[in-house]
Amino acid sequence: MFEKLMLGRGIRYYRRSYVNILCVFAAAMAMFSFMNVFAASLLNYTEAVELPYITRDWTCGFRIVNAVPGQEELFRGIPGVRAEFENGSICFYLTDPENAAGPWEAVEKIWYEKFRNPYLAEFGVDDESFPALYSYVGRDGRDTIYDYDAHRNEIQTNVLLFQSALSVLALPAMIAICGEYIAERTPDIRTLCGIGIGEGQLGRLFFFEAGLLYLVSAAVGIPLGAGIAALFFSGARGIGPGRSLAEYPVFRMDAGSLGLTLLFGWLAVVLTYAVMMKKVLSIDAAYTCMETVPNRRAERHRDLYRKKRTSGQFDRFFAEVLRKRGTSLLLARDVLESVSLAVGVFSLNAVNYLLDEDARMTGWNRDSVMISLANNSLFVMLGVFAVFFSLAAVWIFTKRHAESMAEAVGILSALGAEEGEIYACFRRLTVRSQAVSLAAGFALGYAVTLGVFEAAGYRIPVSLPYLLAHVPLAGVYCLAAWIGAKTAYGKICKNIEAGEDGEPIPAGEEE
């Protein structure tokens, strides 16, 4: 009753925050769904590449490539043709090469019945233009021959690993956006505590909310992620001369990929919820505040500020003052930025390492780079998600950092600092923290890269394209910092509420 009332009204009242939260949550769900659907489809694709196809051949009459030993038995007893298994193919030797039409028809009939039609049935394809190349018969056999099971495990393990790695980036974004929301709702929570809401009731309230957010973000995010994955597999893809996967239904979204997506999404939501609850339960009912703390040192502070201001060291000194408050937020942002940059550096080298030898960025063979990138589109997409989540989190932390400065900015402005001067302090602060976190990110990224790939014999290529690839990597964060400074800090500087005279200057900024 109570929960229903609070949820129903709360959603309408705080709809702007809910939309923000949903964006981040749905992006996380989209990421998980993309990864899993991509993996399932990739398995289909890998199999499609090695499915049997029938072709004319000049050594024998014609042949079925990628067949399984034993399948030649199906063609025994056709007059005028001898079927042999050789090097992974069934070769058809015509006993009378002048008279090929009859044997070809007989072979093609069996091909249709035993190879192609079962495949069509399996995938529910009814298009008659479906190339008579593929078969589904004997997949189990191939699974063992070509070690598909191992391959499957490898792909799924990789996807799981990437998913976990990306969750590391998605979680701070989810937690940060929920932290924003809790900060906004703190007065309400405090009031409820004052009225005597129990811990369990409070927990249930937020749990319902988390569940609702999960459902909606899954409903939005899963189709989105699967849709992006479908895009990757929708284009025709050459897999050899004259063959294409255009009509091969490679895209697959099965119960397994859906289940894993839901599971990962739920884990992320529960983790976020746990962090959120910790915050919520630490809010207590009392309304106490510092506002009336008498501060005898205020005058001394005031003198100090004035001296610094007249001596022209304003921004250097005050950047320091501002840095001292909101330190934890700034630190969180810097750490996050460093970590995501490190992930970026690592991914760059991972892609480079996994690309075909000749497509690595050591050289600049455009075609092969493009082909390899297309084949490694998983990495490309991972990069996109990673950037999204890091930027979202960096942005939220920047905003909160700016907001935590509002009071200090108010005091500075009461002392006569102008908008431009205060903005200069922020710029100084941002430039410095940016430089430190970029340097730390690159250092960390290369340490991990060397640690992982050195053993595999990978050498970091020193070439222009490779070096140029670092520019967007670092640039994205610089851009985010710049936009953050312009908007979040800029807004605080513009909306300065000059503190009243006599307002104490909180402690902590003496030299």
Binding site: L192, G196, A507
Partner: protein
């Protein structure tokens, strides 16, 4: 047995390197049915004292007993339930939930107990405070005085034994102040124990007992007849 008893209450706030002593060794007893005012200069510790008495804030040391029960010994969960039943608190800044209507705000403490207050009882409560035609408005659509009366109704909905009010008239004009004080007096005549923090001599004058707080200590007490 007094309904409320404080023994050697101290409250310190630690913020960074500094420790602020908001209350230093306060002991007092409130008998059932008393209407008491707590006055004193800003920053003296009035709000802190009231919140400790109501169990919203834990003292650094000392003992708070309501109706013989030690608040400090209770778990967070039990103390919440206990407060819901026995304590009504009117906050200095109303603290209505902005997304709920006046009616829903008033009902919240009952809903927390899993009870939906009956329409008649809500209306009777609202009528006694003169807000019966404001029940379907949101807090943002109410004047300060109306919000305050909604807050008082909310504090009363569970029929608590003690009512605490932190500067309930601080944001009201003198006319509305009179109305609100009239409500408090009426409640007190009906036997309810009431504690009011106030700056306003007129409000303090309406109370039989007045406690003066200065620098976190009880600096004096007046009892009129």
């Amino acid at each position: 047995m007094p309904i409320l008893e404080l023994k050697h209450i101290r409250k310190e706030f630690v913020s960074g390197p500094r420790t602020v002593t908001a209350l230093g060794d306060v002991s007092l007893r409130i008998e059932e049915g008393e209407m008491t005012a707590v006055t004193g200069p800003s920053g003296a510790g009035k709000s802190t004292l009231l919140q400790i008495m109501a169990g919203l804030l834990k003292p650094t040391s000392g003992e708070v007993k309501i109706d013989g029960q030690d608040l400090g010994a209770m778990s967070r969960k039990r103390s919440a339930a206990f407060r819901r039943k026995n304590v009504g608190y009117v906050f200095q800044r109303f603290n209505l939930l902005p997304m709920l209507t006046a009616r829903e705000n008033i009902a919240v403490p009952a809903l927390l107990d899993g009870v939906k207050p009956s329409e008649e009882s809500l209306l009777a409560l609202a009528e006694s405070l003169g807000i019966e035609d404001r029940l379907d408005h949101f807090p943002s659509e109410l004047s300060g005085g109306e919000q305050q009366r909604v807050a008082i109704a909310r504090a009363l909905v569970n029929d608590p034994r003690i009512l605490f009010a932190d500067e309930p008239t601080g944001n009201l004009d003198s006319g509305t102040t009179g109305d609100v004080m009239e409500v408090f007096s009426r409640l007190n005549r009906a036997g309810r124990t009431i504690l009011i923090v106030t700056h306003d001599p007129a409000v303090a004058g309406a109370c039989r007992r007045v406690l003066r707080i200065r620098d976190g200590k009880i600096g004096g007490e007046e009892v009129s007849s």
